[in-house]
Symmetry: C2
């Protein structure tokens, strides 16, 4: 069988204020065309279908339409799990009806132990879950992090293995050794909240979602699909697309998909951009610009937007007095550090120890909703 | 056939801060038991499934479960439309899969022209719609209100009538002649935004939702189901339940359903309530209390809550200086008048003409979301 592996659609995501719905619809059309052309037998979607737990009506309409086209119009079995960005409860609306046409959608840990068999392969659909879900399910208080929690999960799946079949895991978490980019949140990425590669050894293929860089983990049988689009300036040089898995050989190959609008980073003097000849730059791209000028440039953003209507960020290679140096911060810092910095920028004061403690607790509390 | 007619579930509604989910689950269980006992052939749900366009995860979970139990577990065909409280977009998630098991759910005007035939009857499922939807659909700019818009809707349905069948309309709007209660918004109720009884004459039965009083309209073939629960003090004396329609005779009968907690209004001196003997009052009921005392009573609400934990409102038959006269306003005034009054209470000043105009426009703008 030929199985497509995709993940991290993040439908409804905005990129520095730009609505990506049109881009998301366009790349989906490419994915669909590829599925037809390759005659794939099923599609695995490894979580983060939506960008937010509470998606807009436009995002809901688009996802509903996408699932309809793949599953009902094209008749493709879909193997879908919820990611950390999804509300499992909202995503699973209609789940009990979906299965009748081969749309398999898991959002609860316990559902991962009812594998779906298609042809020569058993698929285990493990949605994003928290250690507390495993503690409750296995009645084991020692499962305090994902590294520990994954062990009984995989062990239980192994008891369900049909030895005559291939065994594929679809999951949404951080696997140890992965690199990450800006558009994932740093909270809980790394350390004890990562799943070690070794824990996934029993599977013939692990179809992952969560990290947006398809090359985030280099392992023989473990693959991140990566996101369909570049969701951050730090992803500018990543190739985006989907994988096609052959269950006969368990070999996979990457197929790139071209975006409606590219995402690029440009560095140079202001004059170069302003007086660019047609065709010199991709003017339609989402563009992060770094100016090398040292002089103050009046109304710089408005002038740049004349050339690049999708300017994402504007930075200076050399800081200039009296001018906004960067319109958007895109450096890798933790949410707490970011809050700290933001508070100081806005109030001119540091967080008091009490405020910092309160913020820390609030962040910890919202972690699950990220 | 025996068809159950219900409406206005308003799942997720809070009553003066009290969460009604448990009450809603309980009355649904009664509805289910009745459907089994009566061997009904299908259920019509005439809109306002949810109380809010953006329901909570708890409300989503409950509705999903209810539809699952009726349609998948009991195998009952369901005929559902969206009401003015529902987000059609969110409610219709999964719609394309629902139909395979006889769950018919319409949220768009154009869908009303694909009738559902069950046995001897054609059902026309007309969701709540705005005049603008009809203007776009019929390409007719003169359809400026519901009274005008309903005419081409009914005319088009008549062209689809199978003369060998009964014709039932399921709809969610205000029919002229109806009375209304507090828990519907007054905006757009009455006048040109009402559908005249005569416009519905072609149907053998009109299964309505919108008004919570089942007796709101007295017409031979037109019936409001009423809400399943009392959602307002003004509904305290209404009987709640469902209708059972017999499509052989087109006769209908009302079957009352008992709530988990009653809703009652009590009037009398404070001492009577405080020193009530066990069993003298229904202490579990949602209770609106009017005290006839003239003296100031310290800490009156806290004392009453000891006896009636579900006090909704507290009013005085005679206004007392230095005491809150009513904790909740429940008089019939328009949203604009209410805003005007609220502004004056809070600021001590009247709205300026500019403020009033701004508020008027804002209210007009949100009308559709009510």
């Amino acid at each position: 069988m030929k199985i497509m592996h995709t993940a991290d659609w993040h439908i409804g995501k905005k990129l520095n204020g730009f609505d990506l719905l049109e881009d998301q619809r366009a790349v989906f059309d490419e994915l669909k065309a590829l599925a037809e052309q390759e005659h794939v037998d099923a599609i695995m979607l490894a979580g983060d279908v939506y960008d937010r737990a509470l998606p807009s009506e436009e995002a809901v309409t688009l996802v509903d339409q996408m699932l309809f086209e793949l599953n009902r119009e094209m008749g493709l079995p879909l193997l879908v799990i919820s990611g950390n960005h999804d509300s499992g409860v909202r995503l699973r609306t209609g789940r009990e009806w979906f299965q009748s046409t081969g749309l398999y959608l898991n959002t609860r840990l316990e559902e991962a132990f009812s594998p779906v068999t298609l042809g020569d392969t058993q698929f285990f659909l493990l949605p994003f879950f928290q250690p507390v879900d495993a503690r409750l399910y296995f009645k084991d208080e020692t499962l305090t992090n994902i590294q520990k929690a994954i062990e009984p999960v995989v062990a239980k799946m192994q008891t369900l293995f049909d030895p005559t079949k291939r065994h594929v895991l679809i999951a949404h978490f951080f696997v140890a050794g992965s690199e990450h980019s800006d558009s994932e949140t740093l909270v809980n990425v790394g350390g004890l909240d990562a799943v070690p590669v070794a824990a996934l050894a029993p599977f013939d293929y692990v179809a992952l979602g969560h990290l947006h860089n398809k090359d985030a983990v280099r392992a023989e049988k473990i693959q991140y699909a990566g996101s369909l689009l570049k969701f951050s300036v730090s992803e500018a040089h990543q190739e985006k697309g989907v994988f096609i898995l052959d269950t006969d050989t368990m070999a996979r190959r990457f197929v790139p998909l071209a975006p409606l609008h590219e995402l690029q980073t440009l560095t140079g003097p202001f004059a170069n951009f302003l007086h660019a000849t047609p065709g010199e730059y991709d003017r339609d791209a989402y563009t992060a610009i770094t100016l090398t000028d040292t002089a103050v440039i009046p109304n710089v953003m408005a002038q740049l937007r004349e050339v690049f209507p999708r300017v994402l960020t504007l930075a200076r290679a050399n800081g200039i007095e009296g001018e906004v140096v960067s319109e958007t911060t895109s450096v890798k810092i933790s949410p707490m550090a970011m809050l700290d910095k933001f508070f100081e920028q806005v109030t001119g004061e540091k967080l008091t120890p009490e405020q910092a403690e309160w913020a820390k607790q609030a962040l910890a509390h919202t972690k699950g909703a990220e």
